[in-house]
Structures are given as structure tokens and as C-alpha cells.
């Protein structure tokens, strides 16, 4: 408390005012105390911003211009790491392709599932809370090692998927061991966790005024037309929000790729997503300088992508008047 009592008086204290003197002083000192208290409460966060976010970010930029194996001192090599990455590292480009392919397929699939199920569950009914929660459950569990292990077994040669296919007379293969389909199983694992965007869609759907649908019905619009002309435009801010989050999320996927490929990105590098490649360079080959360069390229790409999403978002996101 010493901090607040010691704070200097503001000039406002001297100006005459119609309010009683005591109250005036009370108000003015509240304002100065508020100022100092603001920074007192903000101190942990500011320390974190400096020590855990800003300084490490800059240090990793420095490391990206060095060779560093964790045990000897970093050696300055200039732009060599970046040069090597872009011109002399086919595995880097492969990891980029795998990650982009994953994001391009998994994100739309996940969002479509989320929106479809949200439309089915939007009406309030008895027990609907539990149904929504159960659809949300995979989002809570899906990122875990346990589920990645289950997925690996499920899409293995004698897993549940082949069991289901055999009921239709189809003889399946070991999906996770085939380079053509291994990434597909990861996409399905990602899309399976559609619960989180679904919940956000549900919140958005509830905000659409019913009068719009009534007016459309009077004008003879069917369900299909109402969806395209009312639901989708009204929902576009929420759709945009989900899209940004899911794209960033998809680019950072790590655990399932690591577990399903036994930490190697296989078979034949087919599940070598970018973060896994970064991890292997850093913690398996101890090329911390090169891994830092990989991290900075990642940061730049994600930043650029977010900027592109936001600028194209202006073209199709519809904000209705009166909303914040």
C-alpha cells in the first residue's frame, strides 16, 4: 500500500470545484492511485512479455544466424541457415507441402462438420445440452497422446476402420502405414475435433434474429435459400473467427503426427509436418541454430497468413449494424 499513498498529487487537485474539498481530493487521488495500481497489477504480465516472450523471440532471431549445438558456443554464420533451407533442403520443402496440404483439407472439413452439426443442434430441447456436450467431447480429448494411440490402432491393419469396411465386403489395408493415406488419418483426427468451432457456431446462430427467417418464409424462400441468403451472411463474422483460429491451429499440429509416426514423420516422411521437422532438427540433430531459422520462417508465414486472412475477410465478412 505504500505505493499508493506516496503517489504525487495531480494538477487537478488545485483547480476549484463545486464539490466538497474532501471528495475532490478523494477523486483525484483515486485517479493517481488507479494509475499506479494499473501497473502494479500488470507487473507479472509485463515481466512475462519481456522475459518469456519478447527476449526469447529476439534471441531466437540471433540464433537463426548461427550454428549452435547446445554444448559449444553459437557460431555466427550469417544467412547460411536460411540459404540452406530455401536452396539446399528438400526435406524443408516437403514439410511445408505436408503442412499446407494438411491445413487445406482438414480446416474446411472441420468447419463444415462444425457448422452442419451446429445447425442440427441449434433448437432448444430437453437434453440438448448433453448432446451438444457429447459432440464437444472429442475436442477435449483429441489432442492427447492417448487418442493418437487409439487412432493409430483404429486405422491399422486390424483396426476398427477395416472392421467396419469388412461389413461392406471391402478389404482394407493398414492406413497408417501407407504413405498415401497416413496423412489422411491425421486429417480425420483433426476434423473429428469439430466440437470447439461447433460451440462457437451455435452461439453465433442464436444471435440471428428470427424475424429474418419469418420474412424470408413469407416471401416464399425455402430452407436452402434461407441458409445461403440469411444464415451464412449473418454468421460470417463467426465463420471468419473460426477460420483464423483453425488455420493457425492446423499449422501447429504436432502430437498426432509425432505419435502416429513413432516420432519420425514416416512412413516415407508422409506425416512430416513442419513442427515435427523443427523438433527433429532441434532435439534429435541438435541443430538449434537451424531450428531457430525454421521457427522464424514459421512465424513469418503464420503472420503473413493471418494478415492475408484479415484483408480478404473484409470482402466477405458481413457485420450488421449495431453489433460491436
Amino acid at each position: 500500500m505504500a505505493l499508493t499513498t506516496a503517489s504525487p498529487r495531480t494538477p487537478g487537485d488545485q483547480t476549484p470545484d463545486r464539490a466538497p474539498a474532501a471528495r475532490r481530493r478523494g477523486r483525484a487521488s483515486w485517479r493517481t492511485r488507479e494509475r499506479s495500481a494499473g501497473y502494479v497489477f500488470l507487473t507479472p504480465w509485463l515481466l512475462g512479455l519481456l522475459g518469456v516472450t519478447a527476449a526469447p523471440t529476439l534471441y531466437s532471431l540471433y540464433l537463426s544466424f548461427t550454428n549452435y549445438d547446445l554444448f559449444t558456443t553459437p557460431q555466427w554464420v550469417g544467412l547460411h541457415n536460411y540459404q540452406r533451407m530455401f536452396t539446399n533442403d528438400p526435406q524443408f520443402w516437403h514439410a511445408v507441402r505436408v503442412t499446407v496440404l494438411y491445413a487445406v483439407v482438414a480446416v474446411p472439413l472441420k468447419l463444415a462438420a462444425a457448422l452442419g452439426v451446429a445447425l442440427l443442434l441449434v433448437r432448444e430441447r430437453r437434453g440438448i445440452g448433453w448432446i451438444r456436450a457429447l459432440f464437444y467431447l472429442p475436442s477435449l480429448l483429441g489432442g492427447s497422446v492417448a487418442l493418437a494411440i487409439v487412432w493409430q490402432a483404429m486405422f491399422g491393419g486390424t483396426g476398427a476402420v477395416n472392421h467396419a469396411l469388412s461389413l461392406f465386403g471391402i478389404h482394407g489395408k493398414a492406413w497408417v502405414n501407407d504413405p498415401d493415406t497416413a496423412l489422411g488419418t491425421l486429417v480425420l483426427l483433426g476434423a473429428w475435433q469439430f466440437g470447439a468451432p461447433m460451440v462457437i457456431f451455435l452461439a453465433g446462430l442464436k444471435q440471428i434474429p428470427n424475424e429474418l427467417y419469418e420474412a424470408a418464409a413469407v416471401d416464399g424462400a425455402g430452407a436452402w435459400r434461407s441458409f445461403w441468403r440469411i444464415t451464412l451472411p449473418m454468421l460470417s463474422p463467426v465463420l471468419f473467427f473460426n477460420l483464423v483460429l483453425e488455420v493457425i491451429h492446423a499449422f501447429q499440429t504436432f502430437t498426432p503426427a509425432y505419435v502416429i509416426s513413432n516420432g519420425l514423420g514416416g512412413p516415407v516422411d508422409s506425416t512430416m509436418v513442419y513442427t515435427l521437422y523443427l523438433y527433429l532438427r532441434g532435439w534429435s540433430d541438435f541443430e538449434m541454430g537451424y531450428a531457430s531459422a525454421l521457427a522464424w520462417v514459421f512465424l513469418a508465414v503464420v503472420g503473413l497468413l493471418t494478415a492475408v486472412l484479415f484483408s480478404t475477410g473484409r470482402l466477405w465478412v458481413h457485420y450488421s449494424d449495431g453489433e460491436d
Binding site: G38, L46, G129, I131, F135, L140, S144, F298
Partner: protein, 297 residues
């Protein structure tokens, strides 16, 4: 439970009365929902079913239910590694998760109070920076942080996983609590202030009691996310007795491989039990918490 408090700023939901669909359409709708639900929950049910099959049956019976129920996998899995049991991993996970819960709740609460209620120079700038860190990929920070914590001799301790959280680095939760505080009427602060409360007094006597539902949400999500987190625990915890459940489970898979699928399924089920528990107890709060903040699960 105080879940109703979770959504103060939300307008009343509009009931959709004008939508078509007779009784037949309704039955079809319900059927579709139920079929989808079975499909979505099938992997979880399959996991539990497999954990109850005998080792020989797992290879032959790929269906949902075991022909002969057995609990043996749970025993074999728990004591499956030569030197440590899964109990050790559980204890380690519990220490890390509870540490993160306390650190997150405390640090994010004070930060949120500053942003939501106090006026001070550069507040808008700092708030924008905070939102910016939401989108920052963790992978840029991981290498320098690893080097730092290695210098401090913190490898193979829970410290690198807990201490940064004391500095409100989880912007998600700061944002969640800020949003919640914005829904609390300012008249209450005003009244406390006229009664002679300092900014600290308002925090202690007004905000802290009222913001509890948001803190519970923060605590539950902190716990579940830390419990499931793999990447940071993988790089910081290398010694077998220090490993947490996710890293231990991965190790177990490596050590025993395809030979003992049954115990692996059993341990997968066990590793998810705390999450199932929180889900069952707080499912409404979890869904609502996501709703209000637009938070990601």
C-alpha cells in the same frame, strides 16, 4: 452452480418458431443426430472396449465389445514398465497440472483486472499486444526458452512448465476473465470506491468474489490442457521417473510396442479419466465458457 453468471452480456436467445418441418422431419432429424453421435463417440467406445479384451482377442476381434471381459490389461499396464509404475507418471502429471492451474488463475486474474477496470497510460497498447500474443506460435519461443531453462538447471523438473505461467503468459485466460469482468456492472466498483475502497480494495472485495465463475472455467481448462499437453513435457522431462502421463504413455508404446496392445489401451483409458471426470462434472460450464469468450478447446 453459478453457470448462469457465466454469460452476462449475452442477449436473450431468440426462439426459432417459424421454421418448417413436420413430425416426420423431426424424427429424421433426431435420427441423424443420433447416428452422428454414435459415429463421433465410436473411437472412444472402441478404446474402452479394447482395454477389456484379452491380448489374444484384440488381434482377432476388431469389433466394439469383448467376448470375454477381463480387467487384466489394467494391472499389466499399470505395472508394465520395469522400474516405475503409472502411478509415478500420474503423480508427476498432477504436480504439473495443479501448479499450472494455481499459476494461471492467480496471474491471469490480476492482469485481467488491470485491463478490464483500471485506467493507466498505454493501456490500449498493452491490450493490443496481449491480443497479439494470442496468435503467436509457441514454436518460436520454445528453443530460446529451452536454452534458458537448461542454463538454470531446470530440465527434468516441473519448473519450466509452471514458472512461466506465473507471468500470465496464457493470453487466452486473461482475455476470458477480461470479457467476464466487462459484464459486471461498474456501479459496484463505484459504490465500493465511495465507501473508501482503494483500487486494491475494489479488487479484493468486489471483483474477486464476483469473478469466481470465470476463475473456475480458467482452472478447469488449465488443468485439462496441461494434462493433455505433450510437446513441452516431451522436451523438458527426459528421465523416466520424472515423466508425466502423456510422455510416459508414449514411452510405454515405444517399449512394449504392438506386443501389448491391451495394456496400452487400458493405460490410454486411465490417462483420460481425469478429463472424463471434469467433463462429466462441468460439461455445461465448459461449453458455456467457450461460448462467452470465443475460446478454443
Amino acid at each position: 452452480m453459478a453457470t448462469q453468471l457465466m454469460t452476462p452480456p449475452r442477449p436473450v436467445a431468440v426462439r426459432r418458431t417459424a421454421r418448417r418441418g413436420g413430425p416426420a422431419g423431426r424424427v429424421v432429424r433426431v435420427l441423424i443426430v443420433l447416428v452422428l453421435l454414435c459415429l463421433v463417440l465410436y473411437p472412444l467406445a472402441w478404446m474402452v472396449g479394447n482395454s477389456l479384451k484379452s491380448p489374444t482377442e484384440i488381434a482377432s476381434n476388431t469389433g466394439l465389445l469383448p467376448k470375454h471381459w477381463t480387467w487384466g490389461n489394467y494391472h499389466d499396464g499399470w505395472f508394465g514398465l520395469p522400474t516405475v509404475t503409472f502411478g509415478r507418471f500420474f503423480l508427476n502429471s498432477l504436480i504439473v497440472s495443479l501448479g499450472v492451474v494455481v499459476a494461471n488463475v492467480a496471474s491471469c486474474l490480476v492482469t485481467a483486472y488491470a485491463f478490464a477496470r483500471l485506467r493507466f497510460p498505454l493501456r490500449k497498447l498493452w491490450f493490443a499486444v496481449m491480443i497479439g500474443t494470442l496468435l503467436m506460435p509457441n514454436h518460436v519461443l520454445v528453443i530460446p526458452q529451452y536454452i534458458l531453462f537448461r542454463h538454470l538447471n531446470w530440465i527434468n523438473t516441473p519448473l519450466p512448465l509452471i514458472v512461466p505461467k506465473l507471468l500470465a503468459t496464457e493470453a487466452f485466460f486473461v482475455f476470458l476473465i477480461v470479457q467476464f469482468m466487462r459484464g459486471i456492472p461498474r456501479d459496484l466498483d463505484e459504490a465500493a470506491r465511495l465507501d473508501g475502497c482503494s483500487p486494491y480494495g475494489v479488487f479484493r472485495h468486489v471483483m474477486f468474489p464476483l469473478v469466481r465463475p470465470a476463475l473456475v472455467t480458467t482452472a478447469i481448462f488449465s488443468f485439462i490442457w496441461t494434462w493433455n499437453d505433450f510437446f513441452s513435457q516431451l522436451i523438458y522431462l527426459n528421465d523416466l521417473p520424472k515423466k508425466t502421463v502423456p510422455v510416459g504413455l508414449r514411452m510405454f508404446m515405444d517399449a512394449t510396442g504392438q506386443v501389448s496392445l491391451g495394456p496400452m489401451f487400458a493405460m490410454a483409458v486411465v490417462s483420460l479419466l481425469p478429463v472424463f471426470f471434469f467433463f462429466a462434472a462441468f460439461q455445461r460450464m465448459l461449453v458455456e465458457g467457450i461460448n462467452t469468450s470465443g475460446l478454443k478447446g
